[in-house]
């Protein structure tokens, strides 16, 4: 039993904590079943995609996709990898803000950022392997002397795989270890030993988790440099790597903060407006910095006139610029009015605009010679959707089984009492009924 003095302190804390909406710790989403209609629908999409993938491996790319000699890359690469990994750069952008620039508030969003990043990268990489025509030759990745060090694509392929498999995966381990720690007191010494070792290597892991995405998110832009004039002058610029990286930063902020807001709405969580305001402020600055850089670049290259031609390129250009700018304005306005609606709309608009920007150079603004068109085939779209669904399925399972989503302190105690009194028969969540540190020692663990 802990001392009386500690109990008194704890009582004071618990009395005040109902009024405190500060995101204190990550709490699993409890009281909502994992399997529901939405989840089953997504799972069906995943199964369909996997079956179609098997067909693709046998039949080749032509029968399943709209790709052709002029558009060698389809949405599997240009959307699922180029666009969605930009949305999944949260571990990079939010992480740098929190760990390097010491925005302490943002630590509350870190687990969300790490999880969304891992899922986006894992699903993107899986589809990259399916998109490759001769994937069995990927084994060269372990022979560095075979790498073409000056190829942007080698940089992307190698760096992305290493990043997702090592630093990003390791950064996602703490919530899993935490669950094991609460699960059974017999596991604790082992878990604590692993945690200690992990913490020892943390600076190196985290630094790699910032350097590698910085490199490959910019190299994704450098990919299209070699395409030269075939990319419309509004997009083709030596600054493409910087602009791609910049778009990834504000898009991933939007993805992390927007997803967190959406989750809070769906699962009825309190929102910590200090954290969200700080994220919105940073995102707005990133957006206006990025817009300024892009406009200056277009101005100095003398490509501005093409933005006023009446063609699809100018249309796409203004669409993405307006969406990003309006998103930024909405975010700034939400800082003044404390309106959650406009903040969420700002995140959605700016991220969607960024998605179009990342998609354009490879597809919408790509002008092959001779002229040709590309539109994804049905199977291609289904597979793409299936791999997005796989990420969402992973997300739904993770937030309901692991402590990912940030919440006010009282949520943790509510969760503990929920499992203790209303669901005592669920053995696998037994570990969450022990709210307090050290409480587990009082009674036999794992409910036997």
């Amino acid at each position: 039993m802990t001392s009386t003095a500690a109990n008194v302190d704890r009582a004071v804390v618990r009395k005040n904590e109902r009024n405190n909406e500060r995101w204190e710790r990550a709490v699993p989403v409890y009281g909502f079943p994992v399997i529901n209609g939405f989840f089953v629908g997504l799972s069906v999409l995943v199964v369909v995609a996997l079956a179609l993938t098997a067909y693709r491996e046998l039949a080749g790319l032509g029968p399943v996709s709209g790709m052709n000699d002029a558009f060698g890359w389809g949405i599997w690469k240009t959307f699922n990898v180029m666009v969605l990994t930009a949305l999944g750069s949260g571990a990079f952008a939010v992480g740098i803000a929190a760990w390097v620039f010491r925005r302490k508030n943002l630590h509350a969003l870190m687990r969300m950022a790490l999880l969304t990043s891992f899922l986006a990268y894992a699903c993107g990489l899986a589809l990259l392997g399916i998109d490759a025509g001769r994937p069995w030759n990927f084994y060269w990745i372990v022979f560095p002397w075979r790498w073409n060090m000056h190829s942007p694509l080698a940089e992307v392929a190698i760096c992305m795989s290493i990043y997702a498999m090592i630093p990003l995966a390791l950064e996602n381990i703490p919530p899993v270890l935490e669950r094991l720690w609460y699960f059974d007191s017999r596991l604790r010494p082992g878990v604590e030993k692993i945690e200690k070792r992990l913490h020892y290597f943390y600076p190196w892991i985290i630094a790699a988790a910032y350097l590698l995405p910085g490199m490959h998110q910019s190299s994704l832009g450098a990919l299209m440099l070699l395409a030269g004039e075939r990319v419309h002058p509004l997009w083709q610029t030596p600054w493409l790597p910087v602009l791609y990286l910049g778009a990834a930063t504000f898009m991933s902020f939007g993805c992390v903060a927007g997803t967190t807001m959406l989750c809070c709405l769906v699962w009825k969580r309190g929102m910590d407006m200090d954290v969200l305001d700080e994220a919105a402020r940073i995102t707005a600055w990133l957006i206006f910095g990025w817009l300024g850089l892009r406009l200056l670049d277009i101005l100095f290259r003398g490509a501005l006139a093409t933005a006023f031609h009446f063609d699809r390129f100018a249309g796409v250009f203004w669409l993405e610029m307006l969406m990003i700018a309006v998103g930024g304005v909405l975010l700034l306005r939400s800082l003044r009015t404390h309106d959650k609606g406009s903040m969420f709309a700002g995140y959605v608009l700016s991220s969607a605009g960024g998605m179009i920007y990342r998609f354009s150079p490879t597809t919408l603004a790509f002008r092959p010679n001779p002229e040709a068109l590309y539109f994804p085939a049905t199977i291609e779209i289904l597979v793409s959707l299936g791999f997005i669904s796989l990420g969402v399925v992973g997300f739904l399972v993770a937030v309901k089984r692991l402590a990912i989503l940030p919440a006010p302190l009282y949520e943790w105690h509510d969760m503990a009492s929920y499992f203790r009194f209303r669901r005592p028969y669920i053995r696998w969540t037994g570990y969450f009924k022990y709210g307090y540190y050290g409480e587990n020692e009082e009674e036999p663990a794992s409910g036997d």
Partner: protein, 308 residues
Amino acid sequence: MAITRRELITGIAKAGVPAAVAVTVGSEVLKAETIPVPSAAVGLLYDATICIGCKACVAACAEANDTPPDTRGDALHQAPSDLNDLTRNVIKLYKAEDGSEFSFAKRQCMHCLDPACAAGCPFQALHKDPESGIVNWSANECIGCRYCTITCPYHIPRFQWVGFNPRVTKCELCSHRLAQGLKPGCTSVCPTGAVIFGPRPVLLLEAKRRIENSPGRYYENRVYGETDNGGTQALYLSHVPFEKLGLPELGPESVPAKTLRWQRRFYQYFALPAVLYAGLVQVIRKNLKGHEADAHEREKETGLRAQL
């Protein structure tokens, strides 16, 4: 007087930053940017003014490379509309809209001195032979990413869209025939000598001689490929603008040298990323300590295990 570990690390870092910057930004010419002309560069000279468009070279190319004839057009004739997974070499027709001029155009790999396809190829499946300068494709390294179809400014490499074991098809200047002492398939059958094979310097001299002998006959009195795109080993003479033959005006600097300059400098010897990494580790070490201290303090206040 022993130095501490911290002093050692910061000392190395202080020396490393200027060194890395000097290596990456300061170095004037990067190894990857100098284009050595292969010692025994061979190539093709195609003279569009002599070509009669008989397509004998198309059939000979398929025969020499042991590819089945591409009869997908009308299920009868070998009539590919463009280069494709069965066609390494094709004759196309350019006709001006008002009918004032026309020209045939032979399209095959240009064998650039600084090929963009090889610059982008992740595991060097496309590589330039250091002696003959022929850009070859090897099935054992190709992952089928199709980046070469995006990067090639002449739109030459083609991907096989059907089948579980797709290949990249491009002219490899009949390397297997050269090894037997034979000429490439297309040059061995050309009835008018519109396309000839030989060492690149000899072909260049021949092209210049033709221009000198008939001034005004050739477009701009120049050889396409002498300097274009950093120089190519397939050379072109034409009486219509080269762009009409599908040869874009790319300037004397090669596409990779022009576009990947900063990319290459940044990753030169991996110096800048390494310095950046060392700096990040230092900053994060410091911030991690502060964060852990805060977390353990909250742990005592709330009685809940810290989430790090």
